[in-house]
Symmetry: C2
Subunit: 231 residues, 2 copies
Amino acid sequence: MSEEKQKTKDRLLDAAENLFASKGFDDVSIRELAAAADVNVAAVNYHFQGKENLFQQVILRRFVVQRDNTLKALENILSDASNKPDIALVIQTLVEEYLKGTLSSPGGGSFMLLVAREMQSQNHHGSTTFFKEMVMPVFQAYSMALMDVRPCLRQEQINWILASIVGQIHHFIMRWHKKKSFDAQSEEVQIMVRVFPALGLSVDDYITQVTNHITAFSTAAIDSLYPEVSP
Amino acid sequence: MSEEKQKTKDRLLDAAENLFASKGFDDVSIRELAAAADVNVAAVNYHFQGKENLFQQVILRRFVVQRDNTLKALENILSDASNKPDIALVIQTLVEEYLKGTLSSPGGGSFMLLVAREMQSQNHHGSTTFFKEMVMPVFQAYSMALMDVRPCLRQEQINWILASIVGQIHHFIMRWHKKKSFDAQSEEVQIMVRVFPALGLSVDDYITQVTNHITAFSTAAIDSLYPEVSP
DNA sequence: ATTAATATTAAACGGTTGTTTTAAACTTGG
DNA sequence: CCAAGTTTAAAACAACCGTTTAATATTAAT
């Protein structure tokens, strides 16, 4: 594989990431992809053996980074000997890293919306390995962390808790993207911002507010339902 | 409109509800709809002037019932003079009615999955009136109820709380449908049930457990973050 | 019974989809 | 420099999409 021709694949991957993220798998045609990447339509099948495979490559390329970021962020707070982490910090780390990767990744992409979308669709474009390689490690690492900072928690309780947290995260991600899918001056956006003012903020401020809310909400719930046993 | 010919419209609506709910708007073709309802392909356009309109009719027919059920359930607990409702009861009513309508509606349909799916998609098949007529009344009624049982709550706090609750509800709905979209003996289902045992239960038991969790989780959070001011 | 409106049917239309073909343009190693 | 292999390009392919047409069948009313 030549040096210059690798650029074609990369341009295709970049264009695909943006288009898939903003319109979903089905609503992006190969011709649209080719035009955005400024390559021929046949290039998609030549380099990726089909649209389906291109999609998986896109997901994989980004999600590996996201997985490692999320795991690294957890390691950072756990290994910081200066202050012992508590429940709130663990949750805040998970939520913040998730939102950042989804709403304000450096590539400007909202690639993880793909994951949220496909996880909730009944098409199985991704394979089981995606779940095993990408989701499970993060899930298990944060399960461990939660058990460390709150030893009385049992595994099944943590499963319920994490489901509630991830559910909230997805919901706020979807709200943001739903708003962005309309014209900024449209009546729909006006209503949405009026009902939920945080949607009128910048991405970073939105992430901050949502992170603070989910963290406070979930931490309060856990502290109340599963209080720390006094030493 | 003749008596017998109304049956054609109804058969089409029923078939559309099931198919749309299980595959989404884009993944259902008119020919597929016609075959399932045992009518000609042209019948869709003849009776409903297009696929888009049929979809909206499907949503409307069911969601009016769901909206009224949800509002009626709230009225019931509010007007029951024998025991004054608390936060937990209001939340439980919302969650339970939502889940029942989505996962075990009498028609066997999972029509409200449609709403969840379309709310989270970036296509705007439904109109703004759907939001105003169907979502807002329920939202406002439950906002009022929460203010009644916990007067210290301000509107914006309620918005955040309801977002967290609805986010959790949607997530558990999606988990259930995701599981149902696989073969019962598939490896995927085995993994899902192992990680989250509640998915192995019957629908009704699943609804009960999820309702209890979301109610307990959210009530604990609210009680801790916004405690009742002592009289 | 005849007429007019309504409902159903099979066939076709124009368009888009993902993919493949065929050939020309490159890059690269001897 | 040239032949071998790799990458691009335009065009065609087969399948499917939502919709429409035009003819037929059914119903309702006079």
